[in-house]
Amino acid sequence: MIALLLRDLRLAMRAGGGFGLGLAFFLLVAVLVPLGVGPEGGVLARIAPGILWVGALLACLLSLDRLFALDHEDGSLDLLATAPIPLEGVVAIKALAHWLVTGLPLTLAAPLLGVLLHLPDSGQVWLVASLAVGTPALSSIGAFGAALTVGLKRGGLLLSLLVLPLYVPTLIFGAEIIKRGAAGMAVEVPLLLLAGITLGAAAALPFASALALRINLR
């Protein structure tokens, strides 16, 4: 299992692995939105939580279609399915690797983009907290979507169509945490709900994803 995690991380870091693409996309969103909306600080500060969360969501989505598709093409997925590690574990590890190369860098880079979007200082800590708690759910849910569409030729678009509605609760609670935090309100309730979604998704979805993978492999 650790070997699989290390392999996926190594593949992401090597040339053509796509590490940093999501981060660059996230940065572009934060630059393009003010260009479209106008430079008014008050407006930007108000929409910053939503923009940052939508940006993180789309940046995650960007690399999802490669999650199983590459392993499917070169035969690794067949071999992993016949290997002595459970397929549920394979899915969980690959989702974890996906989070380490997309969700985690996004979380760490987010305060910088928060400054670009005039997010109040009181919101910064909640921006990082909400992304840290919420982005693992994005990877788990995304892995489920990727497992459903792994055998399809043009799976990328369908993947977005399947995954984005599933992202709704994560997005709502995540952005709500920042909004409330920036306004100095209590954030415990949305934070706990978001943590609940992440834990639930990480615990239960690998089973559904592994089921979908087995169906697609046969």
Binding site: I2, R7, G75, L79
Partner: protein, 207 residues
């Protein structure tokens, strides 16, 4: 332990291609699957490896005893030969890839990235995975594709050693590996009479 397959029926794309497949593979024995293209060799091997459920019939060995080598070798181009092989060794919980590198004549290439290997070298690396899997029953789907004469002989030696150590091998191949001890199973004899899998319990209702 004998590997016994009884009354197996397998489907490809919803259509039953082989039925009534029976054979026994003893430790130390090899069986070569023959038959024209499309007869269902790959489908049979995938079913035996546990990648798809059989329509009917029994397979005596669990998938955990089977090492499967398909057309695709499961290699990552940006990883080196050593990294690729070490990964599969770790997945299978075995140690030491040196032996496998030596046997498949890959020692000199060990630091080369898999993307820079020739087709035959890639194939040798894919087959070296069998050696690190530590599993007794090998399922080989056209193992000699893109191998030159010397490499075929090398691989035949590897298979012979595996059989000598009590392993067994089931292979679909058109090329004679020169394994005199291998029995031949002609799959054309088990060709199904065009039963459609979707029909299973569905089609009969209209009969």
């Amino acid at each position: 332990m004998d590997f016994v397959v009884s009354d197996l029926a397998v489907a490809r794309g919803g259509i039953c291609v082989l039925e009534g497949v029976n054979f026994t593979l003893r430790p130390g024995a090899a069986l070569v699957l023959r038959g024209p293209n499309g007869v269902g060799k790959t489908t049979l091997l995938r079913t035996l490896a546990g990648l798809q459920p059989p329509l009917e019939g029994q397979i005596s060995a669990p998938p955990e005893a089977i090492a499967y080598a398909a057309h695709a070798d499961g290699l990552k181009g940006t990883l080196s030969v050593t990294e690729n092989l070490e990964f599969w060794a770790a997945v299978h919980g075995t140690r030491g890839i040196d032996h496998a590198l030596d046997r498949m004549n890959l020692r000199d290439l060990r630091d080369r990235r898999a993307a820079n290997l020739s087709a035959g070298q890639k194939r040798r690396l894919g087959l070296a995975r069998l050696l690190v899997s530590g599993r007794p029953i090998w399922m080989l789907d056209e193992p000699t594709v893109s191998l030159d004469v010397a490499s075929v002989a090398l691989f035949a030696g590897v298979v012979r050693d595996h059989l000598g150590q009590g392993g067994s091998a089931l292979m679909a191949t058109h090329i004679d590996l020169g394994l005199s001890e291998a029995a031949v199973l002609d799959l054309a004899a088990f060709r199904a009479q065009g039963r459609v899998q979707a029909a299973h319990g569905f089609d009969e209702a209209f009969a």
